[in-house]
C-alpha cells in the first residue's frame, strides 16, 4: 500500500485532570474501511471529535496527505476533506434533500444560493437512490435514507475520509445491508471510511483493517482477516475473557418475580418475564426499545399502565400503587443508568449517598447515629474497593467507576433481594467494569436475583445466565445465554422477529 492519507501519532487529549486520550496512533489509507473499536469510554468519541475539529488535541501529531492537519472547528475538517456522520443525524428536517446536502457549501451569486442539482443527483445515483428527488423534504424520509443523505453530503463536499460513528445503531438489518453496499461503493471510489462500532460481527464483515482503543490508548491494529471476535474482545478489554468476566458459582432457585403484560404510558408495550433466585437476567435491545422503562415501571419510577408483577413474598406490584419507597420495602432495588442526574446526589458525600436508601437502619427515633452511619458506609467503600481520600468527600470528587461502586454499595446496604441494574458499566473504565461484573456474580451467589440492562452485548453474554431481547416495547422470551446466537439477538433487537 502507498502512504497513509491520515496519520495520527501520539495524540493526547486532556480535559482538566481527565486524560481522555493517552497516545493514540492511527494510520488510514485511501480506499480502505478502517474500524475503530473500543469499549464505551475507551476514547472513540473523543478521537472522532479531535479529527472533526470539535476538540483540539493537547499533544501529538496529525497529518493529512502528508500535511499537518489541525482543524480548529468542524468546517476546517470538512474543507480538508474529512466528513463526520454522527450517530445522531444532523439534518434539518424541514429543508429539502438538496438544501441539506449543499448546506454550508452552497455556491452563491449575489447572495442567492445557486442550484447544484446535478452534483446532488450524481451522489444520490452513486448511493443507489437515483429515484429520490432532490426537492423532497428530508423529514419525510426514513431514518436509513436520511443517513444516505448525510453520506451524499460528504461525497458532494469532496470528502476523502468519511467517519461514521455507530452508523447502524438505529438501522434495521435491511438498511444495514444497504449501508454496507454504499460503503463498498465509497471504498471503490478511493474514499477512506473510518467505521466506529461496537457491533463486532458487523465490524468484522465490513472492515479491511482495525485499530483498537483501550482507556485512551491504541492497543492493537492490523488486518481484519484472520482475527476472531474473541481475540478482538480480549484486545479491547486488555485481559482474557475469563479475567474480564469472572465467574462465581451460583445456584438458580425458585421464581421470585413473575411479570406479565407490563405496560407503561408509551413503553414498554407488553413485557413479561420470570426471574429466579440467584439468576442474572440480561435484557438487550436498541436504545429507545423501552428496556429502562420496563424496570422503571416495576420500580415505581415511571407510571405503570397495565400488567401484573407478583413477588414470591406474595406482595404484588400493582399499577398506580407502586412507588420506589414501596418497591424498596418489597425487596426491590434499582441502579439508575444516569449517575449524574439520578443515580447519585452529586453534592452529597460518599457516606450520605451510600446510606440514603436505608437511613433508618442507622437511626433511632429519627436521629441518625452519625458514627454508625459513617462506619457502615466506610465498610461498603472498603469492601467494594472505592478509591477515595475520605468517605466524607463529595461524590463528585470520584471517578465514574468509583461513583458506580458507591451506587452499588447503596443497593447492597439496602439489601434487597431483587436488583434492577440499568447500564451498570456505562462510562467507566475497563478495570472497574471487571470489578462490577465480579460484584454482580457475587450478589447472585449470595442469592440475589439480578436484571441487567445493557446495550453492549458482549458484557451481557459474559455476565448473565439468561437473556431476553426487547424490540419496540415487547420483550422476547428469556433463554439461557448459550441458546442465543449473536445473529438471533441482533435480529430480534432490530426487527422483533423471533427467528
Amino acid at each position: 500500500m502507498s502512504d497513509p492519507i491520515l496519520h495520527l501519532d501520539g495524540v493526547h487529549k486532556r480535559f482538566g485532570p481527565v486524560h481522555a486520550l493517552k497516545g493514540v496512533a492511527l494510520e488510514v489509507y485511501a480506499g480502505e474501511v478502517h474500524a475503530v473499536i473500543g469499549e464505551n469510554g475507551a476514547g472513540k468519541s473523543t478521537l472522532m471529535k479531535v479529527l472533526s475539529g470539535a476538540h483540539l488535541p493537547s499533544a501529538g501529531r496529525i497529518t493529512l496527505n502528508d500535511k499537518p492537519y489541525a482543524p480548529t472547528c468542524p468546517i476546517d475538517g470538512r474543507r480538508a476533506g474529512v466528513a463526520m456522520i454522527y450517530q445522531e443525524l444532523t439534518l434539518a428536517p424541514d429543508l429539502s434533500i438538496e438544501e441539506n446536502i449543499m448546506l454550508g457549501i452552497e455556491g452563491r451569486r449575489w447572495g442567492f444560493a445557486r442550484a447544484n442539482t446535478a452534483a446532488v443527483r450524481e451522489a444520490l445515483t452513486l448511493l443507489g437512490h437515483p429515484d429520490l428527488s432532490p426537492r423532497t423534504r428530508v423529514g419525510s424520509l426514513k431514518i436509513g435514507t436520511q443517513q444516505l443523505i448525510e453520506i451524499a453530503r460528504a461525497i458532494v463536499s469532496g470528502a476523502k475520509i468519511i467517519i461514521m460513528d455507530e452508523p447502524t445503531s438505529s438501522l434495521s438489518s435491511a438498511d444495514t445491508r444497504r449501508l454496507f453496499e454504499v460503503i463498498h461503493t465509497l471504498r471503490g471510489r478511493g474514499i477512506a471510511v473510518l467505521y466506529i462500532s461496537h457491533f463486532l460481527e458487523e465490524v468484522q464483515e465490513i472492515a479491511d483493517r482495525y485499530t483498537i482503543l483501550r482507556d485512551g490508548e491504541t492497543c492493537g491494529t492490523g488486518m481484519m482477516e484472520g482475527v476472531t471476535i474473541p481475540q478482538i474482545i480480549e484486545m479491547m478489554v486488555g485481559r482474557s475473557l475469563d479475567e474480564m468476566y469472572p465467574k462465581v458459582d451460583h445456584a438458580i432457585g425458585d421464581v421470585v418475580l413473575r411479570c406479565a403484560g407490563v405496560a407503561g404510558r408509551a413503553f414498554p408495550v407488553d413485557a413479561g418475564f420470570e426471574l429466579r433466585r440467584g439468576e442474572i437476567l440480561g435484557v438487550f435491545g436498541l436504545v429507545g426499545a423501552g428496556r429502562s422503562e420496563m424496570l422503571r415501571c416495576l420500580f415505581g419510577l415511571d407510571a405503570m399502565a397495565g400488567g401484573s408483577a407478583e413477588l414470591a413474598s406474595d406482595a404484588a406490584l400493582k399499577p398506580g400503587h407502586i412507588t420506589p419507597g414501596r418497591a424498596l420495602a418489597a425487596g426491590l432495588d434499582f441502579l439508575s443508568e444516569d449517575r449524574k442526574q439520578e443515580g447519585l446526589a452529586q453534592s452529597m458525600s460518599i457516606v450520605e449517598n451510600t446510606t440514603l436508601s436505608a437511613l433508618r437502619k442507622a437511626a433511632r427515633a429519627g436521629f441518625i447515629d452519625l458514627k454508625q452511619d459513617k462506619a457502615v458506609a466506610d465498610g461498603w467503600a472498603e469492601r467494594l474497593g472505592v478509591k477515595c481520600h475520605a468517605t466524607t468527600d463529595p461524590i463528585s470528587s470520584l471517578s465514574g467507576g468509583n461513583q458506580q461502586k458507591v451506587a452499588i454499595g447503596r443497593l447492597m446496604n439496602h439489601d434487597s433481594d431483587i436488583l434492577f441494574l440499568d447500564e451498570p458499566t456505562r462510562g467507566i473504565d475497563v478495570g472497574s467494569k471487571s470489578e462490577i461484573y465480579r460484584i454482580i456474580q457475587e450478589l447472585a451467589a449470595a442469592g440475589k436475583s439480578v436484571v441487567i440492562i445493557s446495550s453492549y452485548l458482549p458484557e451481557l453474554q459474559g455476565v448473565c445466565d439468561t437473556l431476553a431481547v426487547m424490540y419496540r416495547g415487547r420483550l422476547s422470551r428469556s433463554r439461557a445465554v448459550p441458546q442465543w446466537t449473536a445473529q438471533e439477538i441482533m435480529n430480534f433487537a432490530t426487527t422483533g422477529a423471533a427467528d
Binding site: 482538566g16 485532570p17 419510577l301 412507588t323 420506589p324 419507597g325 418497591a327 424498596l328 420495602a329 434499582f334 439508575s336 444516569d338 442526574q341 439520578e342 443515580g343 447519585l344 446526589a345 452529586q346 453534592s347 452529597m348 450520605e352 449517598n353 440514603l356 436508601s357 437511613l359 433508618r360 437511626a363 429519627g366 436521629f367 441518625i368 452519625l370 481520600h389 463529595p394 463528585s396 470528587s397 447503596r410
Partner: protein, 337 residues
Amino acid sequence: MKIKPFLYRVLPFVGLIFVVLVSLLAIQINDPSGQDVANFVSLDNIRTVLIQTVVVGLAALGMTLVIISAGIDLSVGSQIALATVVFAVVVNGGSVTAPDVDRASWLMVGLAVAAAVGVCALCGFFNGYISSKFRIVPFIVTLGTMLIFRGVAKWIAGGEAVRTPPNAAQGFMDYDVPVLGIGVGFYLLIAAIVVTAVLLRRTVLGRYIYAIGSSENTARLCGIAVENQKVLIYVLCGVFTGLAGVMQYAFLSSGNPTIAVGLELNIIAAVVIGGGSLSGGSGSAMGTFIGALIMSILGSTCTMLGAETYVQEITIGTIVIVAVGIDRLKHLERFKA
C-alpha cells in the same frame, strides 16, 4: 486537601468579622473622637443589634430548610403580617377592637402564640401541598400566596392595625430586660438555631432535606416520599415564620396587616449570605444566623453614620451578590477538582 472545605465552612464567619471591621473603620473615620465607636460597641447597641436580628433570623431559619430543599417561599413576609394580626385578634378574645382590660392574661397570650404559629403552619401546608400535588413551581405558588395571605390579613384586620391591651408578649423584644439581660425573643432565636442545626445535621428528615435539594431524582430513587417531605418542609417553614410573626407583634404591640412588605427578600438574602444556594443542597443554620446578623449590623452602622436607608440597601444588595459570587466560585472549583 482538607483546608478548602474548612475555609468554605467558615466563610460566613469571615464575612461577619469583615463587616464588623469595616463598620468600625467607617464609624471611626466619620467621628475621629472615638465616641461613636464606643457607642457602637456598647452593650446597649450590641443588644439592640441582636434583638433586631430576631424577626429576620427566625423566619430565615425556616427559609433555610426550604432553600436547602431547592424550594423558595415568597409568602413569608405576608405570613408575618398575618401572624401579627391573628395574634392581636386572639389576644383580644376574637375581636379587632381591644377589650377594656388593664392587661391581657398569660392564657390569652399563650393562645395567641399558638394561633399565630398555627395559622402560619397552615399557610406553609397550603404552599407545600399546592406545589407538590399540582406540580407548580414554588416560586409561582408562593408568589400567589404572598398576595393571598396579605389580603387575608387585611381582611381579618379590617384594613387597619389591630390594637391590643398591654400583655406579656410585648416585652419579648425589649433589649433591656432584668434578670434575662435581653428579651425572650433572642433566646428563642438561639434555641431555634440549635434546633435547626440538629434537625439538619443529625436527623433523618434533615438528611432527606439535603437529598431532595441536591437531587430530587436521587431522593425519589432512594424511596423518599419527596412530595410529602416537601409539604412537611413548608409547614416547618411556616412554624418558624409564625414565631417570627409573634416577635414582630412584640415589636409593634399591635397587629398590622401592612407590616413586613418585602421582608421575604431580606429573609432570603440572609440565607444566601449564610451560604444557602437557591439551586438547593447547601445552607446551614449557623450561616443563616450570621447572614441575618450581618444585615442588622449594617443597619446599625448606617444609623450610626447618619446615612440614608438607601446606603444600607445598596450595601446589602452588594453583599448578596458577592456572597453568591463566592458560592459560584466554590461550585466551579468542585467541578474542576
